[in-house]
Structure formats: C-alpha cells, structure tokens
C-alpha cells in the first residue's frame, strides 16, 4: 500500500508539477515556428513534382493508405494540402481556433507523409516526435494562453498540473525515443552493432561511395566520411559515444541546472549534425523539439525585451 502511495506521489510530482500555463502557450508558439521550417524541409521533394503531371500509383502504400484504399498520388492535391498545412500551422502559432488548427496540421501531416513514404516504401521516422507533440497539444489547454482565442473568450487560469502534464509527457517521450533506439539495435543486431563500430563504418563507406567518382578518381561527395571510415579506432570511440548518449538520454529529465541541460542537448545537436554531414542521416532539423526541455517564459521575456528595444530604436530613428 505504501509502495502504491509512493508511486502515485512520484507520478503526480513528475507529470503534474513544474510548468505554468504561460510556458505551455509559449511552447505551442515556438514549436509551431519550428514546424514551419520542418514541414517545408520534409516535404520539399513532394513539392518538386509537377502539379498536373502523372498520377503515380504507389508501390507500397503506407498502412493507413492501404486501409483507406488510397492507391495513387494526385500531385495538385499535395500542393493544396501543403498550403493548408502551413496555414493551419500559422493559426496554431497565433492560437486562433487552436484545437481545430492542430487537428488540421495532424491530418495534413498524415496525408503528406503518407504520400512521401508510399512512393518507394521507405517509411521515415522524422515526424514521430512532432506528431506525439501535436497529439498532446490537441488534448491540452495550450490554446488558452498567449493566443487569439484567449483574447476573444475569458478562460479560467490554466493550473500548474494542467500545463505540466503535456510538457512532461513530451519530455519523457523524447528521452525514451533515443533510449528505444539502443533497445532496437540490441534486439535486432545484438551488441555487435556497437562493438568495433562495424555498422558506423559500413554506413560511412556506403554513403561516401554511392555518389560515384570524378574523372580524377576522387569521390564526388562525402570524402570526409570515407577518410573517417579508415580509422576504426576513432569509429570505435564514436560508437561508444552513441551508446552512451542514447542510453543516457533519459538522464536529462533529472538534470535541474539549465546550463548543464543546454550543454547536453548541444552534444546531441552536434551528433545529429555529424550524422547528417557524414552519413546523410536526415534528422538535421529535429533538435527544434528540444525546446520542450526548457521553460520558455524567461527566454521569451528576454527575446521580447530585445525585440522591443530594436523596435523602439527604429521608431526613434524614423522620428
């Protein structure tokens, strides 16, 4: 009985404390801004197609396309959905019709991701974290603070527990996302994945050679990856670093010092930049979700003060 009580207390302490309604509203705004760039980057290939060109029949439709009987791509529709997605993301940032906007964003992502991943059957995982965030925003009261909706209607103040649970759930999900990555590697390939850095070396070579060679016999792209692949002792260190950071990611939930937390995340961002540059692993923009590990109220105040200062100076110059 005491054990249950302790678990309950720990649960309540973790999920229901730590953030204000203002923090939640600001997180919605800042994540929305990140999503604007993220959507464009993710769906750029779909937008490179001819709107009135051929309607491609998918070789391997994603599971929900199979369920709904969507077998081919209507290119013009993708452009319309993309415009809708961007519009809904902007209204989500503004907090205008917040819930409806988030729902539209979710549906548009489902459609466009479905299209992108059904062309050749390669399913990417880059939208998993943003999608979890949007689902939790949808259920939360994020539209009741820092929003147009709040200007139109008077809401009761968002309590600490109401603001904290979506943020803490997202934090935990992001931390586990990296932790599950280790579990998956060990389940599928065993510790061999990390031992000797074999997998990393393999990807480095494959990704550098595949673009071919110039007339002089030089690699067209990624020559740095090829160079690195010839240093197994260095790769071994990297593979241990990958293991340490993926296993240790949940520790961020226990780091109280903001600077230390920022340092840890800077390391993770470096990892994503390195895997993008050296291995073409395209998680480059995903770090925008790390905003969830910070209380955005002081950051926003600081930014607002800076912007106000610039704005005033411009006005004075104009006068």
């Amino acid at each position: 009985m005491r054990c249950y009580k302790k678990i309950g207390e720990a649960w309540n302490h973790f999920f229901f404390t730590g953030f204000s309604g203002e923090s939640l509203g600001l997180l919605r705004m800042y994540i929305g801004c990140g999503l604007l760039a993220f959507h464009t980057y993710q769906f750029a290939t779909v937008l490179s197609l001819k709107p009135l060109g051929s309607m491609y029949y998918f070789i391997e439709p994603i599971w929900y396309f199979q369920l709904l009987g969507i077998h081919y791509h209507i290119p013009a529709l993708s452009f319309v959905i993309y415009a809708l997605l961007m519009g809904a993301t902007i209204t989500m940032i503004m907090g205008k019709w917040t819930r409806s906007s988030i729902l539209i964003v979710i549906l548009c992502i489902f459609y466009l991701k479905g299209v992108r991943d059904s062309f050749s059957g390669d399913v990417h995982h880059r939208y998993i974290i943003p999608m979890q965030m949007l689902l939790l925003f949808l259920l939360s009261k994020c539209g009741q603070v820092h929003s147009r909706d709040a200007n139109r209607k008077v809401y009761p103040p968002v309590q600490e527990w109401e603001a904290s649970w979506p943020i803490k759930t997202i934090q935990l999900y992001v931390a586990l996302f990296y932790f599950w990555s280790v579990i998956a590697k060990v389940r599928v390939s065993g510790w061999e994945w990390f031992a000797g850095g074999g997998r990393i070396q393999e990807v480095l070579i494959k990704r550098s050679v595949r673009w071919g060679l110039t007339g002089e016999g030089e690699l067209v792209k990624n020559s740095l990856s090829f160079e690195l692949a010839q240093h197994p002792e260095l790769i071994q260190i990297f593979s241990h670093l990958v293991l340490a950071f993926e296993l240790g990611f949940p520790l961020i939930l226990f780091i109280k010092a903001v600077k230390l937390r920022a340092l840890f995340l800077a390391g993770v961002i470096t990892f994503h930049i390195a895997t993008f540059v050296l291995m073409d692993v395209n998680f480059l923009l995903i770090p925008f979700v790390y905003l969830v590990f910070f209380d955005l109220v002081p950051i926003h105040s600081w930014l607002k003060a800076r912007t106000a200062h610039l704005f005033t100076r411009r006005n004075s110059v104009a006068c």
């Binding site: 060109g53 491609y56 599928v188 074999g198 997998r199």
Partner: protein, 198 residues
C-alpha cells in the same frame, strides 16, 4: 478534463506506446525502432555506386509490341530519391529498411502474435509484380495494350571492400562487380491486375 481523467489518459498513452516497443509495431505514429538497427557483421562491405546519367535516363523497358524505351522519374512524376530506390533496390527485389527491421530476430512471442510459421517472413512483398503494376498503371498502360511494359532492366556497379584492407588504409583495393536486374511480366498476374496491390 479532470486530473483523474488525465491520469487515466496518460496511463493508456504509455501502455500503447510501450506495447508498440515490446511487440515491435512500426506503424506511424508508433514505432519501436527509431533509427538504423540492422547490422550483420561480415568481412566485407559492399557499396553501390550510383550512376547519375544512367538513372537520369531511367529504367530500360520493353513494350508488348517489341519497342524499347526508358522510364524516368519525370515520366512517373516522383521525387528523384524515390526513383533511385526503385532503380537500385526494388527492381532487384531489395526491400526497404522497415521490412528488414521487421523481419530480423522477431522472437517467438512476436512470431506467435502475428501467426507466423517457422521461417515465414512478416513482410514479404513480390516486388517484381509491384514494379509492373506501379509503372504500367502510372503510364496508363493496360495488359492488352501494345505499349504495355513487359520487361524492365537496369544495372549498377558495386564495390566490395575487405574490412582488413580498409583497416590498413588500402582504399584503392576493392572488387568491382556489376549487378544486372531483368524482370519480365507474367501473364498469370492478369487476374489480379484490377485488385490494386493485393
């Protein structure tokens, strides 16, 4: 929503998310395998070399009337990276990573849940049939048409490096092999033509 409802919702959420991890469910927005996980140690590393000009030209196809032409990403109106996967992988019968991850080391529990017999794969796709269905359907060719594609071919080079050589910095030592894929239409596929990808 009350605090009690939210607690129930969170419990349900985490049960679903963890169930996906334990039972290896990889259906968006759930996943158990966020990043690259499949690795089979070997003494060699085989690396495909993309030929930009060749894949820009497209797949070499033969029509029912005997004529030969090329089908490119522009004809299919799909992004270049996706066409590359058709050109270098699917036509060779190579499945995407999701399938490889889903089939590797599934374990007795997950095999039992999916009702798989010994040796049976969870993801098993007849890529030859799909290539013909996808490309012909996109280009508007039906099986009786003279323009219907009955043969597709492509080739690429592969470099095979020995890890032992790489450890000693011998990057110029590799074996160059050419992989050639040639797939042909089977008239036994006609009955399933109108049933999409079944």
């Amino acid at each position: 929503m009350s605090r009690r409802t939210i607690t129930c919702l969170l419990v349900l959420y985490w049960i679903v998310v963890w169930a996906a991890v334990i039972f290896r469910i990889d259906y968006f927005p759930l996943t158990w395998v966020p990043m690259y996980s499949v690795y089979a140690p070997s003494d060699t590393i085989s690396a495909k070399v993309w030929d930009k000009d060749q894949y820009k030209k497209g797949l070499k196809v033969t029509h029912r009337d005997g004529s030969i032409s090329y089908v490119s990403y522009k004809d299919l109106n799909i992004p270049k990276p996706n066409f590359r996967r058709l050109y270098y992988s699917r036509i060779f019968g190579t499945a995407p990573p999701k399938h490889k991850q889903g089939n590797t080391e599934l374990g007795p529990l997950n095999r039992w849940i999916r009702g798989l017999d010994k040796g049976e794969l969870y993801f098993s796709v007849d890529w030859e049939w799909r290539m013909f269905w996808t490309i012909n359907k996109t280009l508007g060719h039906e099986p009786p048409d003279p323009q219907f594609i009955i043969r597709m071919e492509t080739q690429h080079q592969k470099r095979i490096y020995r890890k032992a050589d790489l450890f000693h910095g011998h990057t110029s030592k590799f074996e160059l092999i050419t992989n050639h894929a040639l797939i042909e239409w089977k008239d036994s596929w006609v009955p399933r033509w109108e049933h999409a990808l079944l």
